[in-house]
């Protein structure tokens, strides 16, 4: 699916008329026609950022008009393409459970989907499977839809984030996790995001920066007019471009560092076509930051204790079932370690 020729190009388009989403995206495609492939697989899956029930003009969520814009572009390539928009339930920073179905309904995605013949999928209610991510103590539940062939589109917003500094395409992949409350993953965000990206790399990345969000983020803060659209096929490159736009040093974003390292890449390995008009985003860690660090530390401590307990439970179980085999294995390990 990836095209080596344009994989690290990021197209920046200025969008002064905020109702002209289609025109702005068309301009991006004219600048870089290979953003869309010449042929498509049978389905396209679109992941917007619907992290809260908040209208798009706050800079927090994705504008539902993107669905129609993208559907028309994809159907021009393949008329019978099946288009599905996916998002999962969530627990917001206020610990308020948010049903994805309610979010779709109240933010206008249901009406838009009906008009465009697009399917909406609540991943928290879809068929899922459990996988383990390296460096993350608990297994995560991901939707089975990703076993299928697809062209995958990620649409994110231009936002700061209280403890990851910024959120863009890469962090949007956390919305693919089926569980509503992913706060247990927060101490392991970088490892989780990096591995989620390697498992489900988007084929098309769009950061809708018409309105950005500065302050605390990702749902609290002030909307700021940026009039920008970033489009590319490489998630890390698009997120780096977003950092430039918000004047955030990429090195300050832990999950970007981790992803670049895991991919064996350096920062800055991309080129921007079009005009980028940066503006320094105000960033407020908020009084909650020490509390978050304390929470992370206590979680890590708890999970390390659980890991040690589990290891001894396993040993006791194996010893009870097969004492001979257990002793043989233990002696062999002890001998080896010496």
């Amino acid at each position: 699916m990836e095209n080596a020729k344009n994989v690290k190009k990021v197209v920046a388009v200025t969008v002064e008329e905020h109702d002209e989403v289609a025109r702005a995206f068309g301009a991006a495609l004219r600048q870089e026609p290979e953003l869309l492939p010449a042929s498509l697989p049978p389905q396209v899956v679109i992941k917007p950022n619907l992290c809260d029930i908040t209208a798009w003009e706050t800079g927090v969520t994705t504008d539902p008009r993107w669905m129609g814009v993208l559907a028309r572009e994809f159907r021009a390539v393949r008329p019978d393409v099946r288009i599905r928009v996916v998002e999962s339930d969530a627990v917001s920073a206020y610990k308020h459970y948010r049903s994805c179905d309610e979010t779709f309904e109240r933010l206008g995605w249901v009406d838009a989907a009906r008009a465009e013949g697009v399917e909406l999928i609540n991943l928290s209610r879809a068929e899922t499977m459990e996988i383990r991510l390296k460096g993350v103590p608990s297994p995560v539940r991901i939707p089975q839809i990703f076993l299928e062939e697809m062209f995958f589109v990620s649409i994110a917003n231009l936002k700061v984030h209280g403890y990851t500094r910024m959120t863009g395409i890469l962090k949007n992949s956390l919305g693919l996790l089926a569980d509503a409350d992913i706060s247990a993953l927060h101490p392991y965000l970088s490892a989780t995001i990096s591995q989620m990206h390697q498992l489900f790399p988007p084929d098309l990345c769009i950061i809708d920066g018409r309105i950005g969000l500065e302050g605390h983020g990702p749902i609290m803060g002030d909307a700021v007019r940026m009039d920008s659209l970033l489009v590319g096929r490489d998630a890390l490159a698009v997120d780096e471009a977003a950092c430039r736009l918000m004047e955030i040093p990429v090195q300050e974003v832990p999950y970007l560092r981790r992803t670049a390292k895991d991919l064996g890449r350096e920062f800055g390995e991309f080129e921007i076509t079009g005009e980028l008009r940066p503006r320094k985003f105000a960033f407020d860690r908020g009084g909650g930051h020490p509390a978050i660090l304390t929470k992370f530390a206590s979680r890590r401590l708890h999970e390390n204790m659980a890991a040690i307990s589990n290891r001894w439970i396993d040993r006791a179980y194996r010893f009870k079932r097969e004492p001979g085999a257990f002793m043989k294995s233990a002696i062999s390990k002890l001998t080896r370690s010496r």
């Binding site: 699916m1 697989p41 899956v45 068929e127 499977m129 459990e130 996988i131 383990r132 297994p139 990703f146 076993l147 299928e148 062939e149 697809m150 995958f152 390697q198 498992l199 489900f200 790399p201 589990n310 439970i313 396993d314 179980y317 097969e322 001979g324 085999a325």
Partner: protein
């Protein structure tokens, strides 16, 4: 809760202790009624240990005290005991293999019909969730057309076998009948009927085989090979290979590895492990099996493994044995 079903257990050995007694704890719709074993001492000891109010050495005592019976005796007794219970209207959950041959299986099905009783066969692994997931993936043809199946199961310390396991007359077969039968049932259930089978083993008229190799062709055209052993530690898995991927399911572990050539998740990963074992390892399949049996008895659902399903598996094994080639396998395989 409607009236609880009194449960009789016939056979108070290891299978009861390890699997079925914990399963009874997990199904509150049944209540322990009587435990029966040819060895009086063992029956009494099991009754005291597991909380059965009665014990006996005669299976004829079961119908007076129980609505359902779990038959956990050596293979050679499956048909005789199950038929007596079924004819008297006692619903039977019989451990696998259903019987030693197809004739015995038919007699059990006929007894169930006469007694208007449910007959369930203990192919418990069908109740493990990762097999359901694999079945759904195969049904959706996620890995394309099925090309081949490879199964292997065996261990040197997998089960404390009694003398009955080694006697051809009592057991009806060796490694293929008591170890390989799990994979045969699962392959049938997941991928379809067996067409041709060819078997090689190291058994004799005096002793059942400890090594078995069965090559086969399924009705859908896929080829396969099954290795079963009592002497060697094998892979304990079934691999289904399609023309655009594979699914590998653990027979002992709750593991499911998958690759779908064009799947999004496999753009960078060669495969995914998508079933995570819990710790300590627990097997809920016996609970789910008993629950399925109880719901069927109460008319609230159908049996997942009825007599016909149990017999189909025995038929494959018997067909394999009947066509055995003279060349014996060495114990090293």
């Amino acid at each position: 809760m409607s009236t609880r079903l009194g449960v009789a257990v016939v056979g108070a050995g290891q299978v009861l202790e390890r699997y079925h007694n914990p399963a009874i704890n997990g199904v509150p719709e049944v209540v322990r009624s009587i435990v029966i074993d040819a060895d009086e001492q063992r029956a009494r000891s099991a009754a005291e240990r597991f909380g059965f109010p009665r014990w006996s050495s005669d299976p004829a005592d079961a119908p007076r005290h129980a609505d359902v019976a779990i038959v956990l005796v050596p293979n050679g007794w499956h048909a005789a005991i199950s038929c007596k219970l079924l004819e008297q209207g006692v619903h039977v959950l019989c451990e696998k293999p259903m019987a030693r041959n197809v004739d015995e299986c038919l007699s059990m099905i006929e007894a169930a019909r006469r007694g208007r009783a449910q007959l369930c066969v203990g192919h418990n692994r069908r109740f493990r969730q990762h097999f359901w997931m694999a079945r759904e993936f195969l049904r959706r043809r996620l890995i394309g057309e099925l090309v081949s199946v490879a199964a292997e199961e065996g261990g040197t310390q997998d089960w404390p076998r009694s003398a009955a396991y080694f006697d051809p007359a009592q057991s009806g077969g060796g490694a293929l009948m008591d170890v390989g039968i799990h994979a045969i049932d699962l392959i049938r259930w997941l991928a379809g009927e067996f067409d041709t089978v060819e078997y090689r083993g190291n058994g004799s008229t005096e002793k059942v085989e400890s090594e078995a190799e069965m090559t086969f062709r399924l009705a859908n055209g896929a080829n396969g090979k099954l290795l079963a052993s009592r002497d060697r530690d094998l892979g304990q898995k079934i691999t289904f290979t399609g023309d655009s991927g594979f699914i590998e399911v653990g027979l002992w572990e709750t593991s499911l590895r998958i690759r779908v050539a064009k799947g999004k998740a496999f753009q960078n990963a060669p495969y995914l492990d998508i079933a995570v074992p819990r710790r300590p390892p627990q097997d809920a399949s016996f609970v789910e099996q008993l629950r399925n049996f109880v719901l069927a008895v109460r008319g609230e659902g159908g049996l997942l493994v009825d007599g016909r399903e149990g017999m189909a598996v025995v038929e494959v094994v018997c067909r394999a044995y009947a066509g055995e080639k003279s060349r014996a396998l060495s114990s090293a395989g």
